[in-house]
């Protein structure tokens, strides 16, 4: 993963950690975030 992609992913992955009502991400949510930054293929397949 390039640093550019990592930064793009970090910006949509981490800010919710400061939500007092945070819940763990579901595999559907993770897939959606990976899709949003173009992480595709078997390596990034989270099982759905």
């Amino acid at each position: 993963m390039t640093l550019e992609t990592c930064w793009a992913l970090s910006k949509i992955w981490y800010p919710d950690r400061l939500d007092p009502d945070w819940n763990p991400k579901t595999v559907e949510m993770i897939k959606s975030l990976f899709d949003e930054v173009g992480l595709e293929g078997e390596f990034w397949n989270v099982g759905i």
Binding site: L3, W7, S10, N23, W44, V46
Partner: protein, 148 residues
């Protein structure tokens, strides 16, 4: 599903990391939450089971609350207020993403040994170009999160 106690403890842990760059102990959490250390322990174990944090092996000491590490790592994240430690290169960008601050991380390329400096300035990636190598696919991140 996280309980109300889990949520309060998890949120307190993050606030503590942000304010001090360190993880709180079970004693500090118990004092601040006004609950027993036994209750804290139960909640920490539950939070770990839900991948909300990681504990040091065979203990109730917090190891990771991603993107923060409670122990020094090769990924220090310098901000205007603190030097945090990130668990990995991804988390070195996760910290400025979480906090909305500028950052700089100096580390060493594990492939060629070159010193790399990267971070965030004004919301934009700054410093070295680079590629992050993942040894473990995301579906297996938590099989052995320390190795990941």
């Amino acid at each position: 599903m996280l309980s109300q106690t889990d949520r309060k403890i998890r949120f307190f842990i993050y606030r503590h990391f942000i304010d001090t760059a360190e993880a709180p102990t079970s004693t500090i959490i118990a004092e601040q939450m006004k609950i027993t250390e036994t209750e804290v322990g139960v909640s920490l174990r539950h939070l770990e089971s839900k991948h909300a944090l990681a504990l040091k092996p065979d203990s109730l000491n917090i190891w990771m609350a991603h993107p923060f590490s409670a122990i020094p790592t090769p990924f220090p994240v310098k901000t205007s207020d603190h030097i945090y430690y990130a668990n990995c290169a991804w988390d070195a960008l996760g910290i400025p993403a979480l906090l909305g601050v500028n950052s700089e991380t100096e580390t060493t390329c594990l492939d060629c040994g070159t010193t790399m400096t990267f971070g965030v300035q004004g919301g934009q990636l700054s410093g070295s170009n680079g590629v992050i190598h993942f040894s473990v696919p995301p579906r297996n991140f938590w099989d052995d999160v320390g190795f990941t």
